[in-house]
């Protein structure tokens, strides 16, 4: 197989000519600096350098991180409430929580994204709908954050529930026997222990949000994947554009996994198998 492809990483590094004073000043000098100046000039103002591609990548990465982190805040708070609701004694509360989990888990994220963006504003009361469509700044970004957060909350709820259910019932009974209320048992015994147990699945949930934020490009969020595709379409340097995005995704994954491993080791519950030894 022969590949006809011209690699050109400089495309991604170039900046707009007016941003770069050295590029213009070099051209006014002749003589001995001509070669250096000439080289710098083709590098800076080549035909493919019509746009600040590096800035696009940086802004894309920024939006990916912002959208993922905001969505995660919704995920962890809503997921905890729903996860806890699935373990309480009231059948009504449990049924509502179970319904939430089943609905949000069994509809593809992309379909949910479309419904939040195109259908929900139509179903809102007239004034609220108009506000969302006309006046809310950056509607696609808010939509993406809410949609991602609520979608992943259904998964996090299951982790929280599993964490709580993994704690022996004896601990709840002991708590109640010492005079704690149900709420206090959750607050001081069940939740602190279960959060520490479920750090690994919560980490992979967060990575899921981070990767799934790319689905937001379908409603116009210019995050990392969207920016790299845009660069690919502008420059035809598809391999460079997608390589940069892929490497950035991998680096963020690596950083998050490393940090969470440290956190997990710090809060590990003494006496569990994960502790090693006894």
């Amino acid at each position: 197989m022969e590949m006809k492809y011209n690699w050109d990483w400089s495309v991604l590094l170039c900046r707009l000519p007016e941003d770069d004073p050295t590029g213009t000043s070099e051209t006014t000098f002749g003589g001995t600096t001509a070669t250096a100046g000439g080289a710098a000039q083709t590098f800076d103002t080549g035909a493919d350098c019509a746009q600040p591609y590096l800035d696009w990548i940086v802004s894309g990465l920024g939006w990916t991180v912002v959208v993922a982190c905001c969505a995660w805040v919704i995920t962890i708070s809503l997921g905890s409430v729903i996860g806890v609701s699935r373990t309480v004694n009231q059948p009504m509360v449990r049924a509502i929580a179970t319904t939430y989990v089943e609905i949000f888990r069994n509809i593809p994220l992309l379909v949910q994204m479309f419904i939040w963006f195109f259908v929900v504003p139509e179903l809102l009361p007239e004034d609220a709908g108009r506000w969302v469509k006309r006046e809310l700044p950056l509607p696609e970004y808010w939509t993406a954050i809410v949609c991602l957060g609520m979608y992943h909350a259904s998964r996090t709820a299951e982790q929280v529930r599993a964490g709580i259910e993994s704690i022996p019932l004896g601990q709840t009974h002991a708590g109640l026997a010492t005079g704690l209320t149900r709420v206090q048992v959750y607050r001081y015994i069940l939740l602190p222990v279960s959060y520490r147990i479920i750090i690994p699945p919560l980490t992979s949930d967060f990575m899921g949000i981070f990767k799934n934020s790319s689905v937001a490009l379908t409603i116009g969020v210019m995050e990392l994947t969207a920016q790299s595709r845009q660069i690919a379409e502008y420059t035809f340097n598809i391999f460079e554009a997608f390589t940069v995005a892929t490497v950035l995704y991998m680096m963020v994954t690596l950083i998050v996994v490393t940090v969470m491993r440290v956190v997990e080791a710090k809060v590990r519950i003494p006496g569990t198998i994960a502790m090693g030894g006894g």
Partner: protein, 219 residues
């Protein structure tokens, strides 16, 4: 609001949606079969004594698992024509992307399944005079797959939902078909909600079935 919800639109769109659903099912089926086959190879490589194989498989899995599926779809959609030297069509590029992507996830499932088989069983096989490969094929893998069936099927449901992402390259799967009709007839509400209901019913029923299977298969 719902007052002018028009069921007629959905009835008229049914043939287009059905053709879309066939593409969705084809994609799901190919990715499951291809993903499991290649995933098994990757899992065996990962557990192999040969460093090169195991490192390659580990890197492969890490790379695909830390990249968003949409980016993988773009990679194959835009890059494969360069590598092959001619356009291969959106269906084939997407099939390849899904198979290779899912293989990384199936590899981890299958590896966990294989590692759940206790070591003495391998020793017993070898002691009976079976070769390493015979032990793997007739003792380890059959039991491992039995343990894995529920997890593999759960992953298949996730995969079925993920196929909707081919929307980004315009392949006419179920969701893209619904989207086309929605824009053409200006009936966004009807079509998107129908898509949501169809996906929900299919996935909910399958996950209930998997839950029952999980109880039956428990060893």
């Amino acid at each position: 609001m719902f007052a002018d919800f028009d069921f007629q639109v959905i009835v008229e769109a049914a043939p287009i949606l059905w053709r879309g659903m066939l593409i969705t099912l084809l994609l799901t089926a190919v990715a499951i079969v291809g993903g499991i086959l290649f995933g098994t190879v990757l899992a065996l490589m990962r557990l192999s004594r040969f460093m090169v194989l195991s490192v390659f498989s580990g890197r492969y899995v890490d790379a695909f698992r830390s990249t968003p599926l949409i980016l993988v779809i773009f990679w194959f959609y835009f890059a494969v024509p360069y590598v092959v030297g001619r356009p291969i069509g959106d269906l084939y590029s997407v099939l390849i992307a899904f198979t290779l992507f899912e293989a990384a996830y199936y590899c981890e499932i299958i590896r966990a399944g294989i590692q759940s088989i206790r070591q003495p069983q391998v020793h017993a096989g070898l002691a009976l005079g079976l070769s390493q490969w015979q032990t793997t094929r007739s003792i380890v893998l059959p039991q491992a797959f039995r343990n894995m069936v529920p997890v593999i099927l759960t992953q298949a449901i996730v995969l079925f939902q993920d196929t909707s992402l081919v929307y980004v390259v315009g392949l006419k799967d179920f969701l893209t078909a619904a989207d086309l009709v929605a824009t053409r007839d200006n009936r966004v509400l009807e079509l998107y909600l129908t898509a949501a209901v169809v996906y929900f019913v299919l996935c909910f029923i399958s996950s209930m079935w998997v839950k029952r299977l999980r109880r039956q298969y428990a060893l």
